[in-house]
């Protein structure tokens, strides 16, 4: 009996200690999340909104612009994420080579893009890829092209610019993860492989990549989530144009809230669409990761 009372006292004390954190978390995290869920059922403009039942979901089902934003976003991550992951992996392996000279300088150069401000580098890319920008001038100077490429005025080329921009910005970031993971691979495995006469490319495919699999999975899923939230680059370089060619989900939410007659309920619902997609992708990652544990 006394023991039970002591237990309860300890429990109360424990809860009391974490209460401030819980309250803050509740006010600033959980309450807004629940509010946004409630909000996503509201219809109306600005301050004048009312409960609309499933009206927003109906609107969602017929929203061609949302589909366009979704397909743009998917194109971005299906093309960009693999390119970036492979590049980051190759750079990491190259930099991990102890015989490479000036390793520190290369590592700094590759990581430098990650510390530049998103706005600053976006503005830079925008000016580089403009019609009379450095890129077109250089390509024309080298006689690779006759007329300037419409980088920012054609939906297809604009996508290429965005993909190059985010690849430039985030490759070094992912590379650091691989570099760290490479330190943990036992050198003796490579030694044994070399003694057995395994060529370098096979060592890379059969040893390095499998050993890095958990890190690759981790960076892939995080990059995917990052791409789903892509906003700064498209907002600054193309504003989602030309012709909605680079409109992303986040930018669409922004447009719904700030550029158009504010329709907060509907933008909240579109935000929940992103949450749903991220959740689905996380579940997929969870299953792949579990598979891996079972087989090893």
């Amino acid at each position: 009996m006394a023991q039970a009372r002591l237990d309860r006292n300890e429990q109360i004390n424990g809860w009391a200690f974490i209460m401030p954190a819980m309250v803050l978390l509740g006010i600033f995290m959980i309450y807004p999340i629940l509010w946004s869920l409630w909000m996503s059922f509201q219809v109306g403009r600005g301050n004048a909104f009312s409960f609309g039942g499933l009206a927003n979901i109906q609107r969602l089902a017929n929203d061609a612009l949302l589909l366009q934003a979704l397909s743009n976003t998917i194109i971005f991550f299906i093309i960009q994420v693999p390119i970036m992951i492979v590049l980051a992996l190759l750079f990491a392996v190259a930099l991990n080579d102890a015989t490479l000279r000036l390793r520190g300088i290369f590592r700094t150069l590759l990581f430098l893009p990650c510390v530049t401000s998103l706005i600053a580098y976006s503005s830079l890319f925008k000016s580089m890829f403009s019609n009379d920008g450095v890129i077109n001038q250089a390509l024309m100077g080298l006689h690779i092209i006759d007329a300037p490429i419409p980088w920012l005025t054609d939906p297809f080329w604009a996508k290429i610019v965005i993909i190059s921009a985010i690849t430039w910005r985030w490759t070094g970031y992912n590379m650091i993860f691989y570099l760290a993971a490479l330190q943990n691979i036992d050198k003796s495995i490579y030694e044994a492989a070399r003694i057995d006469g395994i060529p370098a490319w096979a060592r890379f495919c059969k040893i390095t990549v499998p050993m890095l699999k958990p890190v690759i999975l981790f960076t892939t899923i995080l990059s995917t989530i990052g791409t789903l939230q892509l906003f700064d680059e498209v907002n600054n370089i193309t504003q989602g144009g030309p012709g909605n060619g680079t409109l992303t989900l986040s930018l669409y939410i922004y447009n719904l809230t700030f550029r158009m007659m504010p329709s907060f309920g509907y933008s909240a619902l579109v935000s929940w669409v992103i949450v749903l997609i991220v959740a689905v992708l996380s579940v997929i990652q969870f299953f792949i990761a579990r598979d891996r544990r079972r087989t090893t």
Binding site: A64, T153, Y173
Partner: protein, 423 residues
């Protein structure tokens, strides 16, 4: 690509920085004003405030340089949250954007027509900010349009200034082709992410993307159809120099790469920023559409007006300031015309000396008199609530149309996107 929560904290920090910047300037008897563009709006406002303070030493002003996007965002967020801390007393808002504020946030702005006689201003400017019978704006600069052109390029191609007076867009395209042939200069710099060009052509007939404010006017809008056709024809003939933002747009004519600039009068300052091009530029009335009923040479692009927020602690002073300087001081309008190239909407200002003077930069043409004559003839349109939605929908189709896409399909796509966004 990986994002962390630092994005959130960064934007919060920015938001706080913005708020603290603006709130430190609030003091007793001081009016805070938000507007953009140091060479234009801010300079004009500074002149106005200096005049008022000279007569009323107790009232001082703090003019903050806030971009148009920021103004829209801050107003929208704060009005929605019902928090007025840090909001200014007077704010500048672009005309085609004001209706959504007036309708989304009833009571947020002071109806100025209660205290100021609105018949003194150009009709179409007042109409843009009228909601439920009351006008909320002190109309400021006009976006009345004209065709700025390089007389020297045209002459090289065999055309005189008389050849571009009161012409149609079709005729301009013919001239443009000749100019391209003979001088290798394209006709117009065009940002495919901006529908300003389309708006100018369409509004010259008195029609708009919407009718009665809320009904899409896309499929049966002959003016819009022909505007898009003209745009397509120019693009297919290689007359448009694609630009990707405002800087490269202004660069297209300050560098001498294009032969004409059809634009609102507020672009004059930028054109005159190249003194070595003096005497090469002239201004003609905007070309008109060929086959559309009600087509005129007069249109509008851009232009904004001043608003007093209801949350202001110094409402009476703010209204008195706008009334005595902006609604009465003809002399003040002469100053901002000469210094900033700002054509105000106060009709009486046209009688001032500066408006009657000719401009040597434009080979002695009475440009200001011309612009103010055109100003009084601009057809009024009802911008309505959903203009931002409509503009985004039109922009989405511009690259496609420029590449020769079917106009019927484009109109259907615009209509569909607009209707979807209006739900």
């Amino acid at each position: 690509m990986l994002r962390t929560s630092s994005r959130l904290s960064r934007s919060l920090a920015l938001a706080f920085a913005g708020i603290s910047l603006t709130s430190v300037s609030v003091a007793a008897g001081e009016l805070t004003i938000w507007c953009w563009d140091p060479n234009f709006n801010i300079a004009a406002m500074a002149d106005a405030t200096a005049r008022y303070t000279a007569a009323n030493p107790d009232t001082t002003f703090a003019i903050n340089n806030v971009t148009q996007d920021e103004i829209n965002q801050k107003l929208q967020t704060q009005l929605l949250a019902g928090v007025s801390d840090g909001l200014p007393d007077i704010v500048l808002i672009q005309d085609d954007n004001i209706q959504r504020f007036l309708q989304s946030f009833p009571g947020a702005f002071v109806p100025l027509s209660d205290s100021i006689d609105m018949t003194k201003f150009a009709d179409y400017k007042v109409a843009a900010a009228t909601y439920e019978g009351k006008s909320y704006s002190l109309p400021f600069d006009s976006g009345v349009t004209g065709l700025f052109y390089r007389a020297d390029y045209l002459e090289e191609a065999g055309y005189t200034p008389a050849d571009v007076q009161d012409i149609t867009w079709d005729r301009l395209i013919e001239i443009g082709k000749d100019v391209l042939d003979k001088t290798d200069k394209q006709l117009i710099g065009m940002d495919f992410n901006d529908d300003g060009q389309i708006i100018m052509m369409m509004q010259s007939t008195g029609s708009w993307y919407l009718t009665e404010g809320n009904e899409p006017n896309i499929l049966d809008n002959p003016a819009l159809r022909e505007s898009l056709e003209v745009f397509q024809e120019m693009s297919q003939a290689g007359l448009l120099k694609p630009v990707s933002d405002w800087t490269s747009y202004t660069g297209s004519f300050t560098s001498g790469d294009v032969a004409t600039v059809p634009q609102g009068v507020w672009i004059t300052g930028t054109i005159k920023s190249m003194p070595d091009q003096a005497g090469q530029w002239r201004v003609a009335p905007l070309p008109k559409l060929n086959d559309v009923e009600g087509a005129t040479h007069y249109s509008n692009n851009g232009g904004s007006s001043w608003y007093v927020l209801s949350s202001s602690q110094n409402q009476e002073e703010a209204i008195d300031f706008l009334k005595t300087v902006w609604a009465e001081d003809v002399d003040f309008y002469q100053g901002i015309l000469v210094n900033q190239g700002a054509v105000g909407s106060l009709l009486a200002a046209r009688e001032g000396d500066a408006y009657k003077a000719s401009d040597d930069f434009f080979s002695g043409e009475p440009v200001w008199q011309n612009f103010s004559d055109w100003l009084s003839q601009v057809p009024a349109v009802d911008y309505g609530t959903f203009t931002p939605e409509a503009r985004l929908a039109v922009r989405a189709q511009l690259p496609n149309i420029a590449n020769g896409g079917n106009i019927d399909d484009a109109l259907k796509a615009i209509d569909a996107q607009l209707r979807q966004q209006m739900q």
